[in-house]
Amino acid sequence: MYQEHTKLLDTISIKKSKSLEVTGKQLHISTIKRLHINKMGNQKLYKGSLQTIILKLLETNDKMYGYEITQKVKELTKGELKITEGALYPALHKLEADGLLDVEVAKVGNRLRKYYKLTENGTKETANKLEEMQEFLKTMQHLVNPKFSLE
């Protein structure tokens, strides 16, 4: 998706257009590029937390399939985070290989669907990962904004 965005932005640059009309507003090309880079940066930050996100979703939703996970994340983050297939499946397979997820295949309509659910170890690991995440967020909060704290 981002490669497509970059290609689009590059095409605009080649045409030497200095601004672009987006939903009725004239945006300078540098603004669009900055927005794109910011979003790319956010995606990189989220990438390190992908396993925790998946585990948390499965803790809340009992069992989920790949496409459902991508849509749920998109919905919960109001489109801010889009998990690509290229990132989702390696993460799911890694969690499965580590024994944190169990797999259940069921026939849905006229096709097979692979559901993931937490194993006993997976439930324990989810609690650990969420605790780590809370600690990380607290530390980051202290670092970037020492005047305010979550507590």
């Binding site: 790949g66 496409y67 297939e85 290229g86 390696p90 290989a97 069921a106 006229n110 096709r111 669907r113």
Partner: protein, 217 residues
């Protein structure tokens, strides 16, 4: 909006055209693509339009790629290679360590044994190597014979060549030099060869587990 059987067949044909027939991945990816197509159709696209858009998105995942961990000779869809790398990385380093550590150790601290002891160890090694080679041969035969492909069978195919280390270490060269000193290079070969045997055993077991799991379901 659910796809019809004919439309699902179109999606399946697309996966087949990409040689994507790994049973541990196929159903899941097929379901994801179908869900994607259905979502586009709900927004008012025809099946053809929706499928064309989804294919653009998925094309990069089916692109033929290879990995440093398996070598340039072994390529497959990016999605398969990525999964295989994640499963194999640890074993790659184990394999390297099995070769490098004995070589370095024996170069730093040369060990010499009596001729009688060297002969006994050589005999033991030969006796132990035969069953290992037969077992690896059995795995190669099974993998070629079985029609079901899994990510693990892909990994296995990349490892069979490593058996050559065991043959070189035990039957071509010798772990012991004429004077009874342990040969670092051939000892490294033997250790790497046995590690390949262990890797093949591990991934063959995983392959069988996946085949059984998907046959039951």
């Amino acid at each position: 909006m659910e796809l019809t059987t004919k439309q699902i067949q179109n999606v399946q044909d697309y996966l087949t055209s990409k040689n994507f027939d790994f049973i541990d991945l196929k159903d899941e990816i097929l379901d994801h693509i179908i869900s994607d197509v259905e979502s586009f159709m709900q927004k008012g696209n025809t099946f053809e339009e929706a499928f064309a858009r989804v294919k653009i998105r998925w094309e990069k995942h089916f692109r033929e790629t290879s990995s440093f961990f398996f070598g340039m000779l072994y390529s497959n869809s990016k999605i398969v290679v990525n999964k295989a790398v994640k499963q194999f990385k640890y074993f790659y380093f184990l394999y390297l360590a099995a070769y490098i550590l004995p070589v370095v150790f024996l170069k730093v601290i040369p060990i010499q044994v009596s001729k009688g002891f060297a002969n006994s160890i050589n005999g033991l090694l030969s006796g132990f190597t035969f069953p290992v080679l037969i077992y690896i041969g059995f795995i190669i035969f099974k993998i070629i014979q079985l029609k079901q492909k899994t990510t693990y069978s892909f990994i296995l195919k990349t490892q069979f060549f490593g058996t050559i280390f065991l043959i070189l270490g035990v039957f071509v060269g010798s772990v012991f030099k004429e004077n009874g000193e342990i040969n670092p290079v051939f000892t490294g070969f033997v250790c790497a060869g046995f590690t390949v045997g262990y890797i093949c055993h591990h991934f063959f077991k995983k392959h069988k587990e996946v085949v059984t799991k998907y046959q039951i379901s």
